[in-house]
């Protein structure tokens, strides 16, 4: 698929993918056995018990650790396809919103504060300037992608560099004590790239995975869908070559989130998905390393059609279904307390065998 031997950067991505461990099915079933013996009717905590078993599998521990230091990584980048009129928002909004994330005035900051999570922003390819801030990591691979409707969005080297930027940040955060990662995204026009990634990874037509994003009207959505169809025809994407898919039609933030997911999974940390952009990144991550899915939790169901298609392909049931379609990691963050509760139940609740006066 590549021209010649893989580069050093590509080999590092392959090493990252190879570090993702097998899902610990033994821990998951041991967690379910433990759950069934707790002081409650078996199964009466529903999906919370299923999530507890998932956390046990990710951590290879029963009970799993209670997430105490969650962080949302908001990967931000711009998109050359913006020039094709696929969104009503100007491209400059990407950098402006990064400024808001740093100033603490965006929705992700409010939701993160509500659930006790840290916000970290990764500029992996904004076109505009963003100010220095302790919450910002600068890792620009390029100032936005090229127009995917006219040619490749970026080179394989650039895509690999963005994957490694995300992985490096995740590794740094986990080393600093972060024990749960939420994926967030910011990038005006990025739902167009996400639709291409979703179509490439699932084989579904553009119409099934293209949605209005942050406010396309019916005419703009029709144009966007036609553009995605044409891009899929042009690029002839091979789902077995995820780096090639990212380079052809992806965003730098999608690539970075692939890296966050792979690194989190490799480190045994749960990775919570947000909306359609993070679901697209998860599908690409799965193409690199199928076992990454064992570390993923679907935080919520976005009304973007591609989100449900992608979650279905990943086999993930979302924790929440609240009609959120903002991105930034907001919906993923809202699932964090449910995960904390799932781990706490397995940790704190007594055994039903100890029930005084039991049947």
């Amino acid at each position: 698929v590549t021209d010649g031997a893989p580069s050093a950067v590509e080999r590092r991505v392959a090493d990252l993918a190879a570090a993702v461990p097998r899902v610990d099915a033994g821990a998951a079933s041991a967690a379910q056995v433990r759950s069934d013996g707790l002081l409650k009717p078996p199964g009466s905590l529903g999906a919370v018990e299923v999530l507890g078993a998932r956390l046990a599998a990710v951590a290879c521990a029963v009970p799993p650790p209670v997430p105490a230091a969650p962080a949302v990584v908001v990967a931000a980048a711009d998109h050359g396809v913006h020039a094709q009129g696929v969104t009503p928002w100007p491209q400059s909004v990407t950098a402006s919103m990064v400024g808001a994330f740093l100033a603490g005035t965006a929705s992700v900051n409010a939701v993160a504060a509500a659930v006790g999570a840290r916000v970290v922003v990764l500029d992996v390819g904004c076109a505009g300037e963003v100010p220095d801030h302790p919450r910002l990591r600068r890792a620009r691979v390029r100032r936005g992608t090229a127009d995917l409707s006219a040619g490749p969005a970026m080179t394989r080297e650039e895509a690999a560099g963005a994957v490694l930027a995300g992985a490096g940040l995740a590794e740094e955060l986990v080393a600093a004590g972060v024990d749960l990662l939420v994926l967030g995204d910011m990038g005006i026009a990025n739902t167009t790239a996400a639709a291409c990634l979703l179509a490439a990874c699932t084989g579904r037509p553009a119409a099934d995975v293209t949605g209005p994003g942050a406010g396309a009207d019916a005419a703009m959505l029709a144009h966007k869908t036609a553009l995605v169809t044409a891009a899929l025809d042009r690029h002839r994407l091979d789902p077995a070559d995820p780096l090639g898919v990212l380079a052809a039609v992806g965003g730098l933030e999608h690539a970075a989130l692939v890296g966050v997911a792979l690194s989190g999974a490799a480190d045994g940390v749960p990775v919570v998905l947000d909306g359609v952009n993070t679901v697209a990144a998860a599908l690409v991550a799965r193409a690199f390393a199928p076992d990454v899915v064992g570390a993923l939790v679907a935080g919520h169901r976005s009304p973007e059609p591609g989100a449900s298609v992608g979650l279905g392909a990943l086999g993930l049931d979302p924790v929440l279904d609240l009609g959120l379609r903002l991105g930034e990691g907001t919906g993923g963050l809202l699932a964090v307390p449910v995960l904390a509760a799932a781990a706490r139940v397995l940790t704190d609740v007594g055994a039903i065998a100890d029930l005084a006066g039991g049947a």
Copy 2:
């Protein structure tokens, strides 16, 4: 409806109901206007925006206060109808579970810890002994109800006393700084009483509102449903006389939760519902004071059929749908961080008019 003039206790319940204020529709619409002007596409936070408007209406304030000191009130009591074989669990489990709530080894304790909520247990009518504990409030009206299938579950005076016990506890908690109340219940056999309350308040047949509760099998469920049908025939309940309904077929914990809901609403504090028992209490509370519904939030959708019937009658969409059917307040607690996020968004997020480089 009553025999003669209402008693002093009944008059106090009527005063409590009269203290529930009108829903502040102005604050709700002002909150939605504010939400539409925040730094995000209008509506992109979906149900979180709707919840923010609801919190604004309850508090009569835009932005509404961010819930910082939530508490779950777990009202516990026993049921004479237990003798009719409507549950596989022995009656002694009620007091045993109260012991677990006090020891901190139950699911409600784990979930409350995960979301930063306080647990308060109200013994309003357990049959067995429970130990002293700072988390326990003793307000036994009687040691469990009488068998609703053979006669009234309790007197009107007793029902009113239980309502006032719940209201008094809510008032005490709010005076101590609690700013959000979650309703929780414990009472072996209480889903039978809840089904009677749901049927009385909605006019639906027993089969629509009777479920397996904490583990009835098909034969037991059929018996339970027939018993509810017979009880409805026997008692000829008048939904316009909620105290009479409670006295005939309710539980002491249902009555207490009616009091918590009415008192919370009167104090401008949001009241979060859990499963079918709390939904039944909410319907009774609405019969006392229709405006109480403005202060209610449906925390989750229990799979018990009566829960969805009741939420539909109340016009409430649940925040979560995770298949929880435990009670204790567990599902209501899981919605608390979503409410905190809804209030925080209205409080912390900047204005879209300030967006640098905007359209």
